[in-house]
């Protein structure tokens, strides 16, 4: 009961912000995901720091489960094996090379810019 009171307000706030963001992007017709609008609003609210600390435990609990929510999306890759089969080797190499190169370029750029 005590932990529900601790975590529930933050979870409900995140749900409300996600749904509000979704409604907003549909209404405005912008190519953004509703939860991202919610994330930006919540970030600004947290930065303001007024009457918001109650939401942190619930929000941090949700982030701990983020990986679990992505598992079904990753499994979706197996539904596209037919499309990928014809070009599996170039696709695999492309995925590996570009992902690692992007990470290294970002890290090197940040290190170089930080020293300027």
């Amino acid at each position: 009961m005590k932990s529900a009171a601790l975590y529930l307000p933050g979870i409900v706030l995140c749900l409300c912000l996600s749904l509000t963001g979704e409604a907003l992007v549909r209404w405005l017709g912008v190519p953004l995901a509703g939860p991202i609008i919610g994330l930006i609003v919540y970030s600004l609210w947290l930065a303001k720091g007024r009457w918001i600390n109650w939401s942190r435990p619930g929000a941090l609990l949700l982030t701990r489960w983020l990986g679990a929510f992505l598992v079904p999306v990753l499994l979706g890759l197996s539904l596209h094996l037919g499309a990928l089969a014809a070009a599996w080797l170039p696709m695999m190499l492309l995925m590996l090379v570009t992902t690692m190169a992007t990470g290294v370029v970002t890290a090197l750029l940040f290190r170089w810019l930080s020293r300027q």
């Binding site: 995901a33 941090l60 979706g76 890290a107 940040f110």
Partner: protein
């Protein structure tokens, strides 16, 4: 939603919790990725029992609904890194913009170079963008949403498992640079790894993925016709 939907979703969460516990016991090494390990175990079970992945995805749909609030909740992690950005915000912003432009451009160029078909070029060109962003962006162009979202999460797994090892080899030890690299190259899955392995810096990875996604949302509508 039926009781069966709830049971399947809870089962995935339990599997993930076990894998995360094992990863934690091992000291959160990059190769012990709980998202990948859980997906692998579930896929093995589905193949063994002869269950269609699409049917499983439909049963696990409550997890998809929870993804939205979880993304909003990431703001609580980014808020923790605000003090780290004092004096380095400009460098972080430029590195994110530069890294993500490089990533998208490199993917697109390489996809054309190896002669992939149009649908695959479209899907891999946006793989540097986090799945919630690209679902919203590709939905507008009737692009290959399911394939692109799956490739985006697979990119996250590759990034979480290999980028830290590569950065170790290159002796890039700056924790801020490493977190940003994970966020830009591997968005949600790699950011989840960044939060687990370095909680004080994980928020930087989230900032990386959000700015990359915002850039894609601004640039792709302008470049889409030309890209394919």
């Amino acid at each position: 939603m039926t009781l069966f939907h709830a049971l399947v979703s809870v089962g995935v969460m339990l599997g993930f919790a076990v894998m995360r516990y094992v990863s934690g016991r091992l000291g959160h090494p990059a190769w012990a990725n709980p998202v990948f390990a859980t997906a692998l175990i579930i896929l093995s079970l589905l193949v063994w029992r002869g269950i269609n992945v699409a049917d499983f995805q439909a049963l696990a749909s409550p997890l998809g609904w929870a993804l939205g609030p979880a993304i909003v909740a990431l703001a609580a992690v980014t808020d923790l890194v605000r003090p780290l950005l004092i004096g380095r915000a400009r460098a972080a912003l430029l590195a994110i913009i530069g890294g993500s432009l490089f990533g998208m451009g490199f993917c697109w160029a390489l996809a054309h170079l190896v002669g992939l078909d149009k649908a695959l070029v479209a899907a891999v060109s946006v793989k540097t963008v986090s799945s919630p962003f690209l679902i919203a962006i590709l939905g507008r162009f009737e692009g290959p949403v399911g394939l692109a979202a799956a490739l985006s999460v697979a990119t996250g797994v590759i990034s979480a498992m290999l980028v830290p090892l590569l950065l170790d080899r290159l002796k890039i030890t700056d924790r801020d640079a490493r977190a940003l690299a994970l966020g830009v190259s591997g968005h949600l899955v790699a950011s989840e790894y960044a939060i687990r392995s370095d909680p004080a810096r994980g928020g930087l990875a989230i900032i990386g993925l959000v700015i990359t996604g915002l850039m894609a949302a601004l640039l792709l509508p302008l470049l889409w016709g030309w890209l394919l």
